[in-house]
Symmetry: C2
Subunit: 411 residues, 2 copies
């Protein structure tokens, strides 16, 4: 029995955060119904695309969900969606969205149909204005601390980090609210904003306190680990590695493995510094790097990789995604999190399940995303309780849709 078995969540979403939230719940065993307009919502064709021109992004973000395609401009379609969101069941009445449709799809209206509804809404900012990862990040200062030391040019994240964080916060907010309901607390509306998620995180990391109490802005530090020691080095074979001396144990291990103990001791004496203090390692990182650089420049990665591993150093090579897939067993079916999955219309490739292994329930294997509308008939029958004739009528009137080649429209 998977950990969230029995829970039903309805998702009305686009882009990264909320689709990721629904998918994460599905990968823990919840039944997740994603509704979209006929032809697909704003992210139906998002890059990257497969050679078939189908969206790899859709395939990645909707694994294990059920999909229903509905004409949301029609009253009948809106009624169906409202019915699906508020359908009965103790483990249902859970709605995740970032669509922010006023009127028929807001909490006030929907909670009249089901009083104990839990609705989690992700907004752009707290005012309800649209914001995306690419605007929140520069607005709050991250690009100014990213990239080479001395450069003035801000560098944006290639990874939509705030979307990822916000999506996972939607998951935990929904689970927390459902726990509260289960204990008799009733339903509720939960609202959070992408920009607030980012702003709060800066606070958690100490960056707001730093800017307030220390004055000045934290500068760029290239690829150095902030606050202790960690640095990238180019080796004799042209490959690049990252080595970490964050904890005392890691630092001592690095110094010993590279045989730089005497040089570091000399450095400490000349600076009057104590490099066993992580903050002093950070302050003197350029000099430390100067000591270590010739060691790495004189060696190929293969000269020291096994020795570093044997000594338990914390380090890694820099790799592209393709290199990682070719070289790293963690990015292969050796890793039980991954399996090769055929995604309809897209292709077959390495696909992740949920990263957590739950000992009581095991890991649900990765399953593909549905084609848009693939579960339209099943949902109308099982959740809304319509007859085949009623479903046929909805399909004929194009209130709902199924994939080409399926169901009565295409028949």
């Amino acid at each position: 029995m998977s950990v969230l078995k029995g829970m039903r969540v309805v998702e009305g979403s686009a882009f990264v955060a909320v689709p990721l939230a629904g998918m994460t719940l599905a990968q823990m065993g919840a039944e997740v119904i994603r509704f979209d307009r006929i032809g697909g919502g704003l992210d139906a064709g998002r890059w990257p695309l497969a050679p078939t021109k189908q969206s790899l992004f859709w395939a990645g973000m909707n694994k294990g969900k059920k999909s229903i395609a509905v004409d949301m401009k029609s009253d009948e379609g809106r009624e169906l969606i409202s019915e699906i969101i508020t359908a009965r069941g103790d483990d249902a009445g859970l709605f995740l969205t970032n669509l922010r449709v006023r009127g028929w799809m807001d909490y006030e209206t929907l909670s009249k149909r089901r009083e104990d509804l839990i609705m989690v809404t992700l907004m752009g900012d707290r005012h309800g204005r649209p914001q995306v990862d690419y605007t929140v990040n520069p607005a709050l200062g991250i690009p100014h601390i990213t990239g080479p030391e001395g450069s003035e040019d801000p560098v944006a994240n290639a990874l939509p980090a705030w979307d990822l964080v916000a999506g996972h916060m939607c998951v935990s907010a929904l689970l927390a609210a459902e726990r509260h309901r289960l204990r008799g607390g009733g339903g509720q509306e939960v609202e959070l904003a992408l920009k607030d998620v980012a702003a709060a995180t800066l606070g958690h990391l100490g960056m707001i306190g730093d800017a307030t109490l220390n004055g000045g802005d934290r500068g760029k530090a290239g690829n150095a680990l902030y606050g202790a020691y960690g640095q990238d080095f180019v080796c004799a074979d042209g490959r690049r590695v990252m080595v970490i001396g964050l904890t005392d144990r890691q630092w001592r291990g690095l110094v010993k493995a590279t045989g730089t103990g005497d040089a570091m001791a000399a450095l400490e004496r000349s600076l009057g510094a104590d490099l066993s203090d992580e903050g002093q390692r950070w302050q003197h990182r350029d000099l430390i790097t100067g000591v270590l650089k010739p060691w790495f420049a004189a060696r190929k990665v293969s000269d020291f990789a096994a020795m570093f591993n044997d000594r338990g150093l914390t380090w890694s090579e820099f790799r592209t995604v393709r290199e990682a897939m070719a070289q790293d067993p963690d990015l292969s079916t050796d890793n039980p999190m991954f399996s090769k999955v055929m995604s309809p219309g897209v292709g077959s490739y390495l696909t992740p399940a949920h990263p957590a292994l739950f000992s009581a329930s095991g890991r649900l294997p990765a399953v593909p995303a549905p084609v848009l509308g693939a579960n339209t008939e099943e949902i109308l029958s099982d959740v809304v309780g319509l007859t085949d004739a009623q479903i046929g009528g909805l399909l004929d009137r194009r209130v709902v849709d199924v994939p080409d080649g399926w169901g009565s429209v295409a028949a």
Copy 2:
């Protein structure tokens, strides 16, 4: 009543992910007890530091928790921690950790004391080897897609994005497992690895499918939004803005606001392209940017900011953290998520509560982090059930500690 009121979680942690997980639960109302060794664990002095030399990182990551300091090398200390982790209570028996101590603190041993224990363990990689955000990120290819187009140099994230994601996944994994227990499923061990969290996320975003099916590695694209249109521009006042044309509506709004409709139409004709297709905007982004660049270069931000807002464009300025704090009301006490909090030994500054607003319970205000060991006596009394005399004995034998100037050791 806060949303997680009544839940008790014990945390044995260091660094970003697991402390963030415990803090997120505390900010939703759970009682979170963090234990550390006397004098503090690996992150007690983590940068950034306040002018007092106390850690702003500790203050940020431990808000609202209770702290107990214990000599974990002594049998008595280990017994106390085991007792705290497995103490009775339907809403207790929840343990979050990344310390990975074998023997007395592993699931097998602890679950003998409390059969329905839920223990969530974050590892570095799935083999149990140490990994940090700074090694996982380069190992999986993100620095190779970050930074200026054409550059060969990998650029690391300044933001510990994988730690943040993994921390929030620890929260949802714990809540999911507790839900399962509440429904009679019993306790369990939940294990996940930082590297797996990152590898799975690459899969969710479509990057593994892209590398597999399309061949080639995705290149760097500077500050451009991947897959559609979004770009940074330097304005006449030297300030930099990010503008987004991800959705059709955003794209049309941007073209209209900048009066570049004719130029874009001419571009479409000469290319035989359809810029209403987001993927074609991505493919032709350099030419689009060429059209828009003079418009921004000729204007100060103040010339168009109000107009952009009135039109509902999705855009932002690039700011440092200090600039954002000076200019953006979302990073001030105007935002109900923030309040000015005095953190003992650190200072007073803007401090975030949980980003989500739960309508049934309201938002718990931000509260400071405890000084290390501040709740030692309270926890020994309330959770372990010791008498004052027993606690005094433990303090005298230095099995536990309280902050300087507190309790019987300092007396």
